[in-house]
């Protein structure tokens, strides 16, 4: 049998939040995700952009079956997430890392936290230890295994949270703004760990972020606005549309912005410059 290529398939997925009034009657229906279709292939690194309230977190929670679609279908590794009996398999295949590092660490010792997922899955004790060790190694946190999470920096805590997901041997990891509460060094540590998982362990990564610099490592970008996917493409394709992005309350990396400004001023630079090296190179060619 040929192995399936797609990891996640969304078909016209929609989700309504329903607000109730005091008497329990339906007061308001908010369509947080509005008919979204996309596909993520195995081994992809997908970035999802969108301003606060654009529906990207709601979408992310579907991939882990924390929410199920009000309309449409979502398949994770071939499983329909709406099907109750797939629930635990879906959660094991698609791990999730959240924004606040403090609110997702359960254990009082780093290694115990990483073991929490495998414990829940009923993994035999000996194998839990192996998984904990390899996961902490994968995020470069092995030497902190006996530490208390409270004494770690934000970036370290977030890497522990990632290790906790990796120990469940997922096929895919969804990270919901994992760097939003970190300082620049913490952000770098986390992104480095995520990239290593994607490249070395070949885990599919879905990264939700507000930091444009983190997006350039992705091979695919989805831009969300008002519950819809409004742009899809490679980082280069997305970032060559500076004005469209701005209209969605987003930004572009600094190098891209400078290149775009220079181009507006008449310099003959190519579209979608992503890094400062690319910009310098392009300028040298003109000079």
């Amino acid at each position: 049998m040929e192995e399936r290529k797609e990891m996640i398939t969304a078909d016209k997925l929609a989700y309504n939040y329903i607000k109730y009034d005091e008497e329990g009657r339906e007061k308001e229906k908010i369509r947080a995700v509005d008919g979204v279709s996309f596909e993520v292939e195995k081994g992809d690194f997908v970035a999802i952009l969108g301003h606060n309230g654009s529906g990207k977190s709601t979408l992310a929670k579907h991939i882990n079956a924390l929410l199920t679609p009000s309309e449409g279908t979502l398949w994770v590794n071939g499983m329909d997430t709406s099907d109750e009996k797939n629930l635990w398999d879906v959660r094991q295949s698609a791990g999730m890392v959240f924004q606040n590092p403090d609110n997702q660490i359960i254990g009082t010792i780093v290694e115990e936290d990483v073991g929490f997922g495998p414990e829940n899955m009923g993994v035999p004790t000996k194998e839990i230890w192996e998984r904990v060790e390899e996961s902490l190694k994968a995020v470069n946190m092995l030497k902190y295994r006996h530490h208390s999470p409270n004494k770690l920096s934000g970036g370290q805590k977030q890497r522990v949270a990632i290790a906790g997901v990796v120990a469940m041997h997922p096929k895919c990891i969804v990270l919901d703004e994992p760097t939003a509460m970190l300082d620049p060094n913490g952000r770098k540590e986390v992104i480095r760990a995520v990239r290593a998982l994607n490249q070395v362990e070949e885990i599919t990564v879905i990264l939700i972020t507000h930091y444009m610099e983190e997006v350039i490592y992705a091979n695919k970008v989805l831009v969300m606005d008002d519950g819809k996917v409004v742009m899809q493409g490679t980082p280069r394709e997305i970032f060559s549309q500076v004005e469209t992005l701005k209209s969605y309350r987003l930004d572009v990396p600094q190098a891209t912005l400078l290149a775009w400004e220079l181009k507006q001023a008449g310099l003959d630079l190519p579209d979608g410059i992503l890094t400062r090296e690319e910009l310098v190179e392009a300028l040298c060619r003109l000079y």
Binding site: G50, H51, N52, G53, Q99, S153, G154, E177, A180, M181, D183, P184, N185, G186, H210, M212, K246, R249, L250, D251, P253, Q254, A255, L257, L258, E261, L262, A265, L267, R276, L279, V280, L283, C284, L286, Y287
Partner: protein, 287 residues
């Protein structure tokens, strides 16, 4: 009108094994009307420093003078000082507690002893300053969006009509547009009202764009204190202590090395654009 710090030292748990020298002999003058950026990595002492400026933390040794008066003198009115030196903490929306937006913003002015009418007048003014319109006044602060909550919380401090406004990472966790909006509003306040602003930030790009003076903290000491272009000239030293310069600085330095006739101390997109175009023009006129 200014804040002067003289030989300020602060030590956590002095005399124990856990002794930490958070501030070491700080000498600074915060002059009226300045827009200052305070940078430093996590744990560099910058948060401790700002908490000294409104008397929340008392220095272990040294003196602080506000408008010439020693704030550690007997009978010095600390509560009045806190009205004059407004401090907005990180994630200030976590301190909201009242039933509606207007009452929450009134909390500060009422603590200053103002009448209900006077407090409300100031609260309304403060809310307009941060761009929250009248329709939100009677809403629960908890029903607002993340960015709106943040602004209401900032208004809560502005309503006390401080002469000095200190903001500890006011843009953390916001989307790019939200970040720009808050910083633009603060910048406007600075220009129109002449308020002294101290912005604690991790974003070198933001600091370069908005402030006129940068104070760099490292291991409890002031490492640099100068205008942005001078400070970022030391980008290699900044990297050594876990900081960085704006992206633009790196681009300019590389261009200079490659033989471009540019001003390598440009720190913002606008400056960079100007000097690069200038270089092309000069080059064009000679060849």
């Amino acid at each position: 009108m200014s804040i002067v710090l003289e030989n300020v030292c602060y030590t956590y748990s002095p005399g124990t094994a856990y002794e930490i020298h958070a501030l070491k002999n700080i000498n600074l003058e915060i002059r009226e009307g300045q827009f200052i950026g305070l940078i430093g990595h996590t744990g560099s002492g910058k948060s401790t420093l700002v908490q000294h400026l409104n008397g929340l933390v008392k220095a272990t040794s040294g003196h602080i003078y506000f408008n010439g008066e020693d704030i550690y003198a007997q009978n010095y009115d600390m509560r009045r000082l806190r009205g004059k030196v407004g401090l907005v903490f990180q994630y200030p929306e976590h301190q909201l507690f009242e039933v509606d937006v207007l009452s929450d913003v009134c909390f500060g002015p009422k603590n200053q002893g103002l009448s209900r009418e006077e407090a409300e007048k100031r609260a309304r003014e403060a809310l307009r300053m941060v761009g929250i319109s009248e329709e939100y006044e009677k809403q629960s602060p908890f029903d607002l969006s993340g960015g709106q909550k943040r602004r209401v919380a900032i208004a809560g401090v502005l309503a006390m009509e401080p002469e000095v406004l200190i903001l500890d990472e006011p843009t953390a966790g916001l989307d790019p547009k939200g970040r720009d909006e808050i910083l633009d509003q603060i910048s406007l306040l600075h220009k129109e009202r002449g308020i002294t602003v101290i912005l604690v930030s991790h974003s070198m790009e933001d600091v370069a764009k908005y402030v006129e003076r940068i104070i760099v903290m490292n291991q409890g000491e002031v490492m640099y204190d100068d205008v942005p272009r001078e400070v970022f000239r030391h980008y290699k030293e900044l990297e050594r202590v876990g900081l960085a310069a704006p992206q633009v600085t790196y681009i300019m330095h590389t261009l200079k090395e490659k033989g471009f006739d540019v001003d390598e101390d440009a720190t913002t997109i606008e400056e960079a654009k100007k000097t690069i175009l200038e270089a092309f023009r000069k080059k064009g006129s000679t060849t």
